[in-house]
């Protein structure tokens, strides 16, 4: 699975996710990536893209929950990502990337590593795999 989340100079957020799914999956199986609110979500406050065990991400409506806890609990972006990864996955394993309309970027995962990269206008740039 691959994904990208962006907030542009006008504070507009967007998210996209694309995948081949699970190796050895049954034909016809749908994962989280195409499900809005599970693997992909973007609203006024943030943009989110998830990856990992699709069934767990679907059951946890993971990407929408990041926007929801920002909206209703007033959490910041990284707090919201950490909360959802910690509280919404049950035994599932997943990771996510997110941006906020304020130009912040965040990510979180409970798997062994996640291929990710992020950058902000003030010059920050990071590419990583492990914790």
């Amino acid at each position: 699975t691959v994904g990208c989340v962006v907030v542009d100079g006008q504070g507009r957020c967007a998210a996209g996710t694309s995948t081949g799914g699970l190796m050895n999956k049954m034909s016809g199986r749908i994962g989280d990536s195409p499900l809005i609110g599970a693997g992909t979500y973007a609203g006024e406050l943030c943009g989110v893209s998830c990856t990992g065990e699709g069934e767990a991400i679907i059951r946890g409506t993971l990407s929408r929950d990041v926007a929801a806890v920002m909206e209703y609990k007033g959490l910041g972006l990284q707090e919201a990502v950490d909360f959802v990864i910690k509280e919404r996955l049950d035994e599932g394993m997943a990771g996510m990337i997110a941006v906020s309309r304020n130009g912040e970027v965040a990510y979180g995962f409970n798997t062994t590593g996640m291929f990710r990269g992020c950058a902000t206008e003030d010059g920050f740039m990071e590419v990583g795999i492990w914790e």
Binding site: V2, V7, R12, G21, P34, T111, T120, I129
Partner: protein, 198 residues
Amino acid sequence: MGGWAIAVHGGAGVDPNLPPQRQEEAKQLLTRCLNLGISALRSSLPAIDVVELVVRELESDPLFNSGRGSALTENGTVEMEASIMDGPKRRCGAVSGLTTVKNPISLARLVMDKSPHSYMAFAGAEEFARRQGVALVDNQYFITEENVGMLKLAKEANSILFDYRIPTVGLETCSAGAASVEAALQMNGLPISVYAPE
């Protein structure tokens, strides 16, 4: 208002034994995609266009599990899916079950922009792709030697592998996995029966 920001991912759950050279390849691809997105943002491209541009680049490279290099079904074929969402008006588009569309994310974008729907799948989505004139290729284009090998290992281990590569060293880890998995197919670390009712 803050400035622009961008993040990309290539999948969670990485084989702890991934060779350093493969790790370096992954970092180079992620860096290339970030730079592609950064120059688009500096040219004031809207966020939704930058997302589509960057995900297309990730789909076209066989390194990660999407587009070319996608994971294989139990039949050894590729069935891809994607979605895209534009924050300001919460517009969205999604596709599933694609077998010939070269860049699934662009078809998801067309579902959002050019159809009255938000999600299209399988034969209907492929028909929509033909009507929209997007690039179509044979399913073979998406299949890599490495993934054919991994599907073989997954079948031997009688397991569905999550979004990570199985250790490339030795089979003992898989055979151990096979033993534990022998009992029942696992999903999310739980017996598949947990999901049967759903």
